[in-house]
Amino acid sequence: MTIWLGSFNKAGCPTLKISVSGPFTDSLPFDAILDTGFTGFLSMPLIQAIRLGLVLHGTTRVVLADNSEAYKLTARGQVTVQGISKIGVVILEPQGGDLLLGVAFLRQFGRTLLVSQSGVALADEQELAKAVKTPQELPEPSLSAGGGQLQSR
């Protein structure tokens, strides 16, 4: 199974090494935070987007965790992970510092995020589905006399 391994940053956030590119410049490498509270593809500081020459789409409105809202600029950007590239909508943060990968990133790359105390992994969703049997596919449990765990006294 193809697994991408991430890591934890100093703040304890799960991160993944990615490259971001626009249409006219070489890609740049980043350690991006995996943020399942973000429904978009990628959020990045505006200054980095200018450096990469990302093409501006326009604007959108976002809602924050406290239900307040803000307008953001959007751009078209390409993210590459281990040789696989996808194009998505990039939210531009005028003053932010971190790059954030959201749920749309996982959907577009077809990845399942696995986070444990010891590490961060992104598994191929289709390969994982094949490897994990659903309850319907498992054989019926056989309860022999005296061998079951749900016996009443």
């Binding site: 509270g37 973000f38 326009g58 809602v63 953001k72 600029l73 078209r76 932010g96």
Partner: protein, 97 residues
């Protein structure tokens, strides 16, 4: 003859507000009945709307149809297109002054 709204294209807040006004005036009622939860890109230069199941597809289609367009992205039936866990409450206008 109806007055044409000409937003200042250098001001992101005005672009967004222009896009939301075009959407509310021309598309919202129909789209909320027929396309719940889909994504809409409003080209504020032409007032055309593009619609698709996800943000990437709608903006790619809109850019293909209108290469010089300026698009405001909306999710049908929602006040916002994305949810973010944190951001700074920044006023974008200073960028373009």
């Amino acid at each position: 003859m109806a007055a044409t709204m000409t937003p200042h294209l250098s001001n992101p807040k005005e672009i967004a507000e222009a896009g939301e006004k075009i959407y509310a005036d021309r598309y919202k009622n129909q789209y909320e009945r027929e396309h719940p939860a889909k994504f809409v890109a409003i080209d504020i230069t032409t007032e055309e709307a593009y619609i698709a199941h996800n943000p990437e597809d709608v903006l790619e289609a809109a850019r293909g149809a209108s290469p010089h367009g300026v698009f405001h992205l909306i999710q049908v039936g929602s006040s916002s297109a994305f949810r973010v866990s944190y951001t700074l409450h920044d006023d974008l206008a200073w960028l373009f002054q």
